[in-house]
Each structure stands twice: as C-alpha cells, then as structure tokens.
C-alpha cells in the first residue's frame, strides 16, 4: 500500500483575489507516508491543506484525495485544526467534541452504540477518558490538542491532517505527541503543517517546503541554510536524530 497516492496535486494554482498563493504545484503524498509542510507565513501551507479538504477550489489544476475529488475523498481525512481557532467559552464537553468525528452528514438523531464505542476508544487512546465530561474550554493546551486528535481519529481516517500540532503545548505534551504520531504512522498517512523544525526532523521522513511552489526533501537534508533561504530568518534548530525513540533528542534554537 505504501507508495500509492493518498493526496495528489497536479498543476495546481491558487490565489486569494489578486494575490497568488500557489503556482503550478505538482505534489504526490504516498499512502502511509508521514510528511511535514514547512514554509513562511503566507507561503501556501494551509492553503494546500484546505485545497485537499475541498474547502476551496484551485484556479487551475486538479487535486485528488485517495483518487477522488476532495469533496468526496475528504470523508477519509481526520483533520486537526489549530487550537487558536476555537471559542474557549463554547458550551461543549470533551466527549461532545470527539463525537463530532462520528457525524454522518445530515443524518438526524442520536449516536449509535458503535459510535459511542468508537468515541470511548479514541478518548482512552489519547488518555482523556477521565476528562470526557469536562468542558473543552477548561483543558490545558496539550489536553485540547489530544482531544482534537481524538476527534480526528474518531473519523476512522486513512489520512490524518495536523495543522500546527505543537502550537500552545509544553515540552512534555510535545514528547507525548511525538510518540503518539509514531504509533499512528504504522496505520495512517500523516500530513502536518509545522514551524517546529526540531519536532519535524525527529519525526517525519519527508519535508515539503512550500513558498508558492513546493520542493520535496528527505528530512535529513534540511539544513540551516535551506531554512534561512525559505523563511528569510531562523527557526527552531534541527537535530537530525531520527533514531531517538522518546523525542528527547531534539533541541531548540
């Protein structure tokens, strides 16, 4: 299965109004690959995710998810957006947030017994079974991130999208996330957007640099010079410690 296209962009261009964001992008992400999109703000990372999710349509070119148009293929994606996008005062429990992963279109009524079982399983998988009834807004940054991953996993996805998974989490939560993603990688295609090169270098096989166009690099090829060229500035330091099993091998610059 590894090597088949989970996501494919063919000659994709996109612009917000008169501002071009992506220009003739060709990119294939194979099934069960773990890749990270890096690049400067406004470079087009999140736009790539949103195109694959079918939230926006390309001006030119074609996007496929599991060989299907995004609007049909996106049901196979578990999506974890950035935490900052949520209203902390919204009255919703952790269990209700995770249960959103079991939504099935406009089908009315309550969750089935199987849906409830899946929700319990994924809550336990991210060690949040004890906080299921807590308000989502009362969780710490790391707990919220785990709840959102649980929601994405409740979809029973083939592909996992993570938008800035290390934002607003402490070092301990980051190490925990690292271990979890390694475990999930054995069964899922994982695509993440991150500015955290230290985290990325310890985890993914492939780094996709996005700045209107894309270039694909093995993670160990990412260097300070390349990052400086891409961002025009420095970011977190990279330690190419791909054998580190507990996430303790990475350093911060």
């Amino acid at each position: 299965m590894r090597g088949e296209a989970a996501i494919r962009f063919s000659g994709v261009s996109f612009a917000y109004g008169s501002t071009p964001v992506l220009d003739d992008v060709d990119l294939t992400i194979g099934a069960q690959q773990m890749v990270c999109l890096v690049g400067p703000n406004g470079g087009g990372k999140t736009t790539l995710l949103r195109l694959a999710l079918g939230f926006i349509e390309p001006l030119r070119g074609r996007v496929e998810v599991c060989g299907l148009p995004p609007v049909r293929g996106r049901r196979r994606i578990g999506y974890m957006p950035q935490q900052l996008e949520f209203d902390a005062q919204f009255p919703i429990t952790v269990r209700e947030v995770v249960a959103m992963g079991r939504l099935n279109g406009a089908r009315p009524g309550f969750m089935s017994r199987r849906d409830r079982t899946v929700v319990d399983e994924v809550l336990d998988e991210v060690d949040l079974g004890g906080c299921a009834s807590a308000p989502f807004g009362s969780l710490s940054g790391g707990q919220r991130q785990r709840a959102l991953i649980a929601r994405a996993l409740a979809v029973k996805p083939e592909i996992l999208f993570l938008d800035e998974p290390t934002a607003m989490v402490d070092a301990r939560s980051e190490a925990r996330l690292l271990a979890k993603l390694r475990e999930l990688h054995s069964r899922l295609t994982i695509v993440m957007v991150s500015h955290d090169a230290a985290f990325v270098a310890n985890l993914v096989e492939t780094v996709i640099c996005v700045n209107r166009r894309v270039s694909v690099h093995p993670a160990h090829e990412i260097s300070h010079g390349m990052i400086h060229e891409l961002y025009g500035d420095s970011m977190k330091a990279v330690l190419h410690d791909h054998d580190a099993g507990d996430g303790s091998g990475h350093s911060h610059g």
Partner: protein, 296 residues
C-alpha cells in the same frame, strides 16, 4: 402603612387580578411568557454560542419594514389580509436569507451587510408608517405589550416551540457542530450552509412571533441575556438551552409582577430584570471561581 404592608397589599391585588375572569389577558401574558421562554432559551443559546447576536439584532430590526409595509397596504389599498405579522415574517425571512448570502456567497464584509439590514429595515418601516393614512404609533411595535396578546398569539408561539424543539432534537449534533467548528462539520458531510440558514430562519421565526412580548428593540435582549447567564453555569449546549429557558421564564414572570406592582411598561421592566439577572449570574460565577479556584 409600612412598606412591607404595601408590598403585601400589592401582591394580594395582583393575585386577585390573576384569578379574576375579567382580567384573562393577565393570565394570557403569563402563559405567553412560559411558552416564549422555551423558544427564547433554545434559539437564544444557539445565538449566544455561535456569537451571532448582531445577526439577531439585524433580523429583529428589519421586521419593522415588513410591519410598516403591511400597515401601509392595509390602509392605502384595503389589503386587510396583509396582517402586520405576515409582513414581519416576510421581512424577517428576506433579512435571514440576505444574511445567509452575506455569510457564504458575497464578497462584501458580513458586518457591513448586518449594519445595512439593521438600519435600512428601520428606516423603511418608519417611512411606511409616515406614508400610511392616519396616525401609527410605532412604539407598540418597538417595545411590544405582552398584555395585549390574544389566544391566536398563544397558539402561534406554541407551534413555534414545537417546531424549534423538533428541529433542535433531530439536528442537535449538526447544529452544535456548525456552531462550534464549521470546517469540521463540512468535512463530515454536514450541509453547513443549509444548517446556518436554518439557524437564521429559526432566529427570524422567533423574533417575529415574540415581538408582541417585548417589541423588536428588546427581543434581542431576551434572546441573549438568559442564554448568556445560563452559559456561565453549563458545560454543554443542551444544558445551556434548558437553563436559559428556565431563566427566561423567571425573568419574564418577575418582570411582569414588577411592572404590575409599580405600574411600569412591561417590556422594559422585563428586560431590566433580565439585565439584573445576567449581572447576578456574572457575579455568582466569579464568586464560585473565587471560592473554588480549581473548579473551572
């Protein structure tokens, strides 16, 4: 007479009016308050949770255009079938659809469209009132009067309650998902635009039928204050809806009693009670946090 005795006398007088067959409109007012509280609590919770209070404000003010048009047509052309309630409903639905378009289809800023619908609706309504033969006092539409409602109003609000409860029960997960995280709801196949438009139409329906209680200016307050107060103590949307309905009932009933005892206009008195209730809820929440700092 001491103040305590005065209050006792006023209360006794109030109860005698409530049980007097000649004052059936007072009983109607209380039944209306109870029925309306369900609609206000449930739709208001969606409005507060989704943070679309200004959208509700725009819809409630736009209905004046429809009421004005109906009054004008009735008096100028003898269109007696064109009831102000029908005019209000038409204007509310048009406003809701325009706001839905502004949200999803237009390139114009949504807040500008909200402001335009809000102010133009009022202006059109007032111009229709001015152009209609005879004098029309817009105050009754602006501030309402719960003591002037009839049996038909009660039935309409009861039907509204049933519609809201049915839609909310059947589509609770979808409505909650659209209010909390629209993108994720879309990803799971929820027709997001339809669900948001449904929310706007529920707001429109609630505004139109409940204007008789507190009028178009104050309807937004009764839609948001009980829900906002309830939101301080609840951890899920359905709990917020239930508590907001109960709080709304308490505010409306207390406001009615106060307005009767002090001979004050009912609409503003009800809203003032709701405002005090909201302030008390904020204070109580802060006090709870102070005494139990770990309980979030």
């Amino acid at each position: 007479m001491t103040p305590g005795t005065e209050a006792d006398t006023a209360m006794a007088e109030f109860w005698s009016v409530l049980t007097d067959g000649d004052f059936v409109f007072v009983r109607y007012a209380f039944v209306m308050g109870a029925c309306a509280s369900v609609a206000f609590g449930m739709v208001g919770s969606l409005v507060v949770a989704r943070r679309v209070t200004y959208v509700a404000g725009a819809v409630s003010h736009a209905v004046l255009a429809g009421i004005g048009a109906a009054v004008f047509m009735q008096r100028s052309y003898g269109w007696l079938w064109f009831d102000p309630l029908l005019g209000a409903a038409l204007a509310a639905f048009v406003a809701a659809l325009l706001l839905g378009l502004a949200r999803f289809a237009a390139t114009e800023r949504e807040d500008s469209v909200i402001g335009a619908i809000w102010s133009v609706g009022v202006a059109v309504g007032l111009l229709f009132f001015a152009a209609a033969p005879g004098y029309t006092d817009p105050m009754s539409y602006l501030f309402g009067n719960i003591l002037l409602i009839g049996v038909r109003d009660l039935w309409l609000v009861l039907v509204l309650d049933l519609v809201i409860i049915a839609l909310t029960v059947f589509f609770y997960p979808q409505l909650k998902a659209v209010c909390f995280d629209e993108d994720f709801a879309r990803l799971r196949g929820v027709p997001v635009r339809l669900a948001y438009t449904l929310l706007l139409l529920l707001i429109a329906l609630t505004v139109v039928l409940l204007i008789s209680i507190v009028g178009m200016v104050l309807v937004v307050a009764l839609m948001t204050l009980p829900a906002a107060a309830a939101g301080r103590f609840t951890r899920s949307l359905w709990q917020m809806m239930a508590l907001a309905s109960v709080l709304c009932l308490i505010f409306v009933t207390t406001g009615l009693v106060f307005s009767f005892q002090a001979d004050l206009p009912t609409g503003p008195t009800i809203i003032l009670v709701a405002g005090v209730g909201y302030a008390l809820a904020l204070g109580a929440r802060s006090a709870l946090r102070l005494f139990a700092p770990t309980a979030q």
